[in-house]
Amino acid sequence: MSKIDDVKANVEKGKTKIVPGLVQEALDEGGNPVEILDAMVSAMGIVGDKFSANEIFVPEMLIAAKAMAKGVDVLKPLLAGEGGASLGTCVIGTVQGDLHDIGKNLVAMMIESAGFTMVDLGVDVSAEKFIDAVKTNENVKLVACSGLLTTTMPALKETVKTLKGSGLNGFKVLVGGAPVTAQMAEEIGADGYAPDAGSAAIKAKELVAAA
């Protein structure tokens, strides 16, 4: 197994303590930082797929994302001059009136792991705050809106409507959360829907690639 494969396997297993050392070893052996990053992104893709299939659970996903973040810390000084290969900026938040953040945080981690630069607006985010974030951040390609409560579905609808009617362009809107369905996402005018964090990362890449 090559050192880069070793990095990939250990990110997937969530070995937070050894991944930074393995990344350094891969670099010392002449590994390309971008290739090492791609291997970690690929590992997180596998983690996302397994989560979607209920083969792994929230702790495994959290720990894998943490392992990747520690590996990225080692790479960061070297990636600065390589263009970073970001897929763009993703603005994410839980819609107004909803304080649930666990699912939103998981989605943010997975989308970041897929190669996006994240702007996390937190919870209880008004439609206007989403609009401001699109205006004030560079290269926004995706806005991800989460809602867990049936009572905040009107706020989700309003947020999507406001984003779509804002006259701003260049970004897609992704929605998710326990009460949200693909049909509802379509009805409220969202560009995409994801039922869980793993598929959110896949959908995010699909939406941006198709833009």
Binding site: F57, K66, A178
Partner: protein, 326 residues
């Protein structure tokens, strides 16, 4: 006509109930026991005896623990011995008085008196340190988590001893949410590793001290935990969402555990609720789950709804379907 208690026992033992058990009718839950501190209305913020701060925002339907740097009780799992102190259980007689009065008013022939235990051990771990820290600590510092969980279990047992001594309950309503709509938070193996033995000990203690019925609340998917629930000693799983495929669970496990739920609160209990929606869900749940090992009930913990009228309408619809099916 059977009493509510008799009808419950016939239902969970596969006997001859004469109607559906109607939601929480079979038990009176004593919630406001000494040591229980939680905001109950929008606008309230409460710090409990562990130091956990909960807030109930004006526009929400429930309270949340606050986990910013200023409020998080446990900031480093390796420091739990220093940062987490089990509260005193030295309660005064007057603190017990309201619950004892409630207990004395329960007709034990008609209903069970249930002691309320909330939050549960898993919930306590994430109330103390936040969900993400708690879940990652299970991987990164398992021995420390076992130690913290032992402290939480011991506190629950010492408090249980006092509740039993004061109220002599014949049921327990124990809250601990173990998952979301479509999955549990932890794999069954990890859940068993950390929580099975503590819960076996807790539930055995209650049963060894006069409690006949263990009702555990988790309004979630948790079908994969059912064998663990049975091993723990749970008699009724309250909060079973329809995503669990309750008819299949009844078929496989019904003789060992009863499923109370099937009426997902999120789909029924919302601002624009309608009696027709309640009726549709009640009919579907009762017809698909049948008369044994099933109690139709909103999945929300305790006998109320977030929006006025929903709980009572669901109860009315259960009575209607009972007349049709019995």
């Amino acid at each position: 006509m059977l009493t509510k208690k008799q009808n419950l026992l016939e239902t969970i033992k596969g006997g001859s109930p004469d109607r559906f058990v109607n939601q929480y009718e079979f038990m009176d839950v004593a919630v406001f026991l000494p040591g229980f501190k939680y905001p109950l209305a929008p606008g309230q913020t409460v710090k409990d005896d562990w130091g956990i701060t909960f807030t109930f925002p004006e526009d929400q339907i429930g309270a949340f623990p606050i986990h910013d740097d200023a409020h998080k009780v446990l900031k480093d799992i390796t420091q739990w011995r220093e940062q987490v102190k089990a509260p005193s259980l030295d309660f005064k007689d007057e603190e017990w008085a309201p619950a004892m009065e409630q207990a004395s008013n329960v007709n034990r022939e008609e209903q069970f008196l249930a002691a309320g235990q909330m939050p549960g051990i898993f919930e306590m771990t994430h109330h103390l340190m936040g969900m993400e820290d708690a879940l990652m600590a299970l991987y990164e510092e398992p021995e420390e988590m076992h130690g913290l969980i032992a402290l939480l279990k011991d506190y629950e047992l010492r408090r249980a001893e006092q509740i039993i001594d004061r109220l002599h309950p014949d049921a327990l309503f124990h809250h601990d949410d173990w998952g979301g709509q479509s999955s549990t938070f932890l794999s069954p193996d990890m859940y068993a590793d950390f929580f099975l033995e503590p819960y076996k000990e807790i539930y055995k203690f209650w049963k060894d001290n006069g409690v006949e019925l263990i009702v555990h609340h988790s309004d979630s998917y948790a079908a994969t935990y059912v064998p663990l629930m049975i091993e723990m000693g749970i008699d009724i799983w309250q909060g079973a969402m329809s995503t669990n495929n309750i008819p299949a669970l009844i078929e496989q496990y019904g003789k060992q555990i009863t499923f109370m739920g099937g009426l997902d609160s999120g789909a029924i209990d919302f601002p624009e609720w309608k009696p027709e929606i309640c009726a549709e869900h009640v009919r579907k749940a009762c017809q698909s789950c049948g008369k044994h090992y099933f109690i139709p009930c909103l999945t929300q913990g305790l006998g109320f709804s977030s929006f006025p009228g929903v709980y009572d309408e669901v109860s009315k619809q259960i009575d209607i379907i009972s007349k049709e099916m019995y």
